[in-house]
């Protein structure tokens, strides 16, 4: 953060001086709540984020999730919680460093410190009961942690959370989060009435007794902060943006599927995609749809394909390892030209990789993980709002082009929460019921238009349309090919459809000037962070612009013409590439970012890449540094 006022960073443990509180008016602030899993830090963060959105702030929240459900307590790797970036304007990404942390123990705090997540002058509010623990090992761990943290220049404020909470309940593991929420409500001037409402909404399935207890804890945290803390933060609300909704990317995908009129989601549980089906399982039946939890990833693809074959387009939701298993069915869908929507919420790979963490490394897999040539459409939503709308586009394209449409989301969009303009629902977004009218004589199951490769699908139930679809090479009548020319023709027709679609796509909008020294090219969830970095670079006087691709297959039009207007072009991606300075790495053997590889092949332009696989979203400051280091790379002195 460049604009944070310094908050008298004393380092070491210091009791907060008594009032009056200093008011810090800031354009943005990032706060984290971290705990052991099961202590409710995520709930606390979610409520805080939702209330902030309702009060008119730009908000981006990200979950901090360990891979295990209940890892042993007090482990740095078990850190679980929520990170909320508040802004006076719309917030498009998770930002850089955290300015304020509420931690339920020193080990989870240590994890965030070691991850480099905390600003040098961050304020750390930490549960202090561990300092006086009866267990000498815990006491020693506390002391060691405080020593490690004191090197950071943070302002550390011990908070007697448990001692306070014990006045209201017996098991403070189950209520500390509401105390923490109370503190944040005071600290950030949140509207207490809105908070009460949100708490009531969040715990609507719990008893009145639990609700009252939560309110008491909230009040307690509020009062403690008011009495003990010497500062407050105010992030003014954003200008009115019209009606907004707030949700995470997976909820947006699920809701988008409903808006598209989809009626069948076949899936198998896999992180971080599963919450799409959690959401749909809750509501889909009311909309005439079902979630089918199949016996495995392969069957999920097969059920979706069978359903699509027989009626409306169906979809399946998965992540990297599941995608690998579905591959054969997806080839069949391309070959038989049965429309299908496949959502891949990407996580770190290869193999099981990083189940809960973001990566953008399935691009080449969705494009090429297939035997034979299997052209397909690949879309990548760049924002949570786009997660909603992309499902409508995907359904339409699958139907119109009779092929598989991939939607590449990722863990960052899946678990990020941000407000966006409320969609104005349109009936035309929904699929028509399948046409069951008789097939006129002479109409063939693959009556390819020789120019476009497009044809009209015939579904079971249509009199006169009987034929057998097959994954074997086939002609227009779906007869198995026994001559070479038929195979060439089928490949041509399936490929031609992508050329037709590409010709319909407009060139992507440029963020910044239309020419300059460096053009950053991104795709997927990195849009907000890239554009924020580009804005900062431009304010420093650098000639940097960016462009963000929504279509990865086919690629949007005009890319080559755009790229030549910049002295250098570089992709920024969350996937692995060799650093040009690494040992043994040369321009010839350098393994590149996935989009850059694709763009080099498509444009014959020397496109650089800056990619990282940190298991977390890219930060604007890291991208800005990359801009500084790469903008003049390759320039002859």
């Amino acid at each position: 953060m460049t604009d944070t006022q310094s908050l008298s960073s004393t380092g070491g443990v210091a009791a907060a001086p008594s009032r009056p509180a200093t008011l810090l008016r800031l354009p943005q602030h990032t706060v984290e709540i971290v705990s052991d899993p099961g202590e409710g830090a995520q709930k606390c963060g979610q409520i805080f984020g939702q209330v902030s959105a309702r009060m008119g702030n730009g908000v981006w929240t990200v979950e901090i999730i360990p891979a295990e459900i209940q890892p042993p307590p007090r482990l740095p790797e078990g850190a679980s919680g929520n990170r909320i970036r508040l802004g006076a304007g719309p917030v498009t990404n998770w930002g850089d460093e955290t300015n304020l942390v509420v931690a339920f123990n020193e080990q989870v705090l240590l994890a965030r410190h070691r991850a480099g997540a905390l600003a040098h002058d961050a304020i750390l509010l930490i549960e202090d009961k561990w300092a006086e623990s009866d267990d000498p090992a815990i006491q020693a761990a506390w002391t060691a942690a405080m020593t490690e943290l004191s090197g950071g220049g943070y302002r550390i404020i011990p908070v007697p959370m448990e001692a306070q909470c014990l006045s209201v309940l017996d098991n403070p593991r189950k209520g500390k989060n509401m105390f923490a929420l109370g503190m944040l409500v005071w600290l950030y001037h949140r509207d207490l009435e809105l908070v009460r409402e949100q708490v009531a909404r969040t715990f609507r399935k719990k008893s009145e007794e639990v609700f009252q207890q939560n309110l008491a804890l909230l009040q307690l945290g509020y009062a403690w902060a008011e009495a003990e803390l010497d500062f407050r933060v105010e992030v003014p609300p954003a200008p009115d943006q019209g009606p907004l909704v707030v949700m995470n990317g997976n909820e947006a995908l699920g809701m988008g599927a409903i808006a598209a009129g989809l009626e069948l989601c076949a899936m198998y549980p896999i992180t971080p995609a599963t919450s799409v089906s959690h959401y749909l399982s809750e509501v889909f039946e009311r909309f005439g749809g079902i979630v089918h939890q199949a016996e495995d990833e392969i069957a999920a693809a097969g059920v979706a394909l069978g359903a699509s074959y027989a009626g409306k387009v169906a979809f399946t939701v998965t992540s990297g390892p599941g995608l690998a298993l579905k591959t054969e069915f997806l080839g069949l869908a391309v070959m038989t030209e049965i429309p299908l929507v496949v959502v891949d919420v990407q996580r770190g790979g290869p193999s099981t990789g990083l189940p809960t963490k973001v990566e953008q490394s399935d691009l080449l897999a969705v494009l090429f993980a297939q035997s034979g040539d299997a052209p397909r459409i690949v879309l990548a939503p760049a924002t949570i709002e786009e997660c909603f709308h992309v499902m409508i586009t995907a359904r339409r394209l699958a139907e119109a082009f009779r092929t598989v449409v991939f939607v590449l989301s990722d863990a960052n969009l899946a678990t990020g929460v941000t407000p966006f303009p409320r969609p104005a629902l349109d009936l035309r977004w929904q699929a028509e019921p399948p046409d069951l009218s008789p097939i006129p004589a002479g109409r063939l199951p693959y009556g390819w238009d020789p120019e476009t490769g497009l044809s009209r699908r015939i579904v079971p139930g249509q009199p006169g349309g009987m034929h057998t679809v097959t994954g074997l090479s086939h002609d227009e009548a779906s007869k198995v090919a026994y001559s070479a020319g038929v195979h060439q023709r089928g490949n041509t027709m399936r490929s031609r459809k992508l050329a037709v679609l590409q010709r319909m796509l407009a060139p992507p909008a440029v963020h910044g000037a239309e020419q300059g020294d460096l053009l950053i090219v991104g795709w997927g969830s990195t849009k907000g962070a890239i554009e924020e970095a580009v804005d900062r670079a431009r304010s420093e006087g650098l000639q940097v612009s960016s462009v963000h691709l929504r279509f990865l297959s086919p690629l949007e039009s005009g890319l080559g013409e755009l790229f030549v207007r910049f002295r250098r072009v570089m992709t920024v991606e969350i996937n692995y590439s060799d650093d040009p300075a690494d040992p043994y790495v040369t321009e010839e053997n350098r393994r590149r970012g996935q989009l850059s590889l694709l763009l080099r092949a498509a444009t014959l332009i020397d496109i650089d890449c800056w990619t990282r696989v940190p298991g977390e979203p890219l930060r604007p400051d890291a991208i800005l540094q990359a801009i500084h280091s790469r903008i003049h790379r390759g320039t002859k002195p």
């Binding site: 309702r54 009606p243 907004l244 909704v245 949700m247 909820e251 809701m255 409903i258 808006a259 009626e263 076949a266 509501v283 039946e285 909309f287 005439g288 749809g289 079902i290 089918h292 199949a294 016996e295 392969i298 069957a299 999920a300 693809a301 097969g302 059920v303 979706a304 394909l305 069978g306 359903a307 699509s308 074959y309 027989a310 009626g311 409306k312 169906a314 054969e328 069915f329 069949l332 407000p419 409320r422 629902l425 009936l427 929904q430 019921p433 399948p434 069951l436 009218s437 008789p438 079971p460 139930g461 009199p463 006169g464 009987m466 034929h467 057998t468 679809v469 994954g471 007869k479 198995v480």
Partner: protein
């Protein structure tokens, strides 16, 4: 989930009655080897389609990969010739979206009991209304003579030339061990009357009807059931008023075992017997839960959905 609105001639619910003849169900010329058991099954199925007057456009045959999976090409209904082992998920998907369609599944022994084994088990449990034929010749034919799970122990193939290492998998025992399985039968390609009667019973059963059809591959396993084909005494018919009743066969196959298809414990005992080849319905329970029925939801019009979604968005309003 689709409401049938088609009133064209030949459509279900259409006003005009059309009598389908056997030739109207014939597709491409079958390319199986002469003497292949698949031909007998195709004949029995065509006879069934004709006798039951199934509407061609309302009927779908789904198959996997293997010799027998070419089946749909040889019929003039809708067909889905998919990938190896995966016919059942496809058929389940069809049934979920279009319960109005009549769906048959054709698989080989490798297709069903090896590469597709997981789907087989789970489809039996889902119990959608499917007629499932497992054409079991105990060998991989299309890929040219490899051991399958149902190859008898000691039988030589290209992959196990000194004989199959393991006892054969018993598809009947396995099927009968799956919770919610509702119909399990065994028949043989060389007993056409029994084959037809069994398929008819399977077709009429509401739920997943699993029929194991014993058959010979004339190229790789011609001797597999040769003794049983030549000596009817090696066959035992399961007889019951509620089973497969084929009076003309009872004189050919004189060994009978009274068996009530409602008795699951007895069915499991019969499935495990190895002293004879038992033909008939081992188990049938039409009352078992059917997945596509359980999961059926009221359909929504586009307008209803839009209104409901608008209300849903209220929950997320800032």
């Amino acid at each position: 989930m689709i409401q049938l609105t088609c009133a064209a001639p030949g459509c279900a619910g259409g006003a005009e009655e059309h009598e389908y003849t056997l030739s109207e169900y014939e597709g491409a010329q079958a390319r199986w080897c002469p003497g292949c058991g698949d031909h007998s099954v195709l004949t029995a199925v065509q006879r069934l389609l004709t006798s039951e007057q199934l509407v061609p456009e309302q009927t779908v045959f789904v198959s996997g990969i293997g010799c027998s999976s070419r089946f749909p090409h040889y019929l003039r209904t809708y067909g889905f010739h998919g990938i190896h082992g995966r016919a059942l998920p496809v058929a389940t998907g069809i049934k979920l979206h279009r319960p109005d369609l009549t769906v048959f599944v054709v698989m080989g022994d490798g297709d069903c009991t090896s590469i597709g084994a997981a789907h087989w088990i789970h489809a039996l449990r889902y119990n959608p209304d499917l007629t499932v034929m497992m054409l079991d010749n105990g060998i991989y034919g299309l890929t040219k003579n490899q051991t399958s799970p149902t190859t008898p122990r000691g039988w030589a193939s290209n992959t196990q030339p000194r004989g199959s290492w393991l006892p054969a998998l018993n598809p009947l025992s396995l099927s009968l061990g799956v919770s919610n399985a509702s119909f399990v039968a065994q028949t043989a390609e060389w007993a056409p009357a029994h084959l037809y009667a069994t398929l008819r019973a399977a077709y009429r059963h509401p739920g997943l009807a699993f029929v194991r059809i014993l058959q010979r591959c004339p190229v790789y396993t011609p001797a597999l059931y040769q003794q049983a084909v030549q000596d009817p005494a090696r066959i035992t018919l399961l007889v019951h008023d509620d089973g497969v009743v084929v009076p003309e066969l009872e004189k050919v196959y004189r060994t009978h075992l009274p068996h009530d298809p409602r008795d699951l414990d007895a069915a499991r005992r019969v499935a495990d017997l190895s002293d004879s080849i038992y033909l008939g319905i081992l188990f049938r329970d039409p009352a078992r839960a059917r997945y596509e029925e359980i999961r059926r939801v009221p359909p929504r019009t586009a307008e209803e959905r839009r209104v409901l979604l608008d209300t849903e968005l209220d929950r997320y309003a800032v």
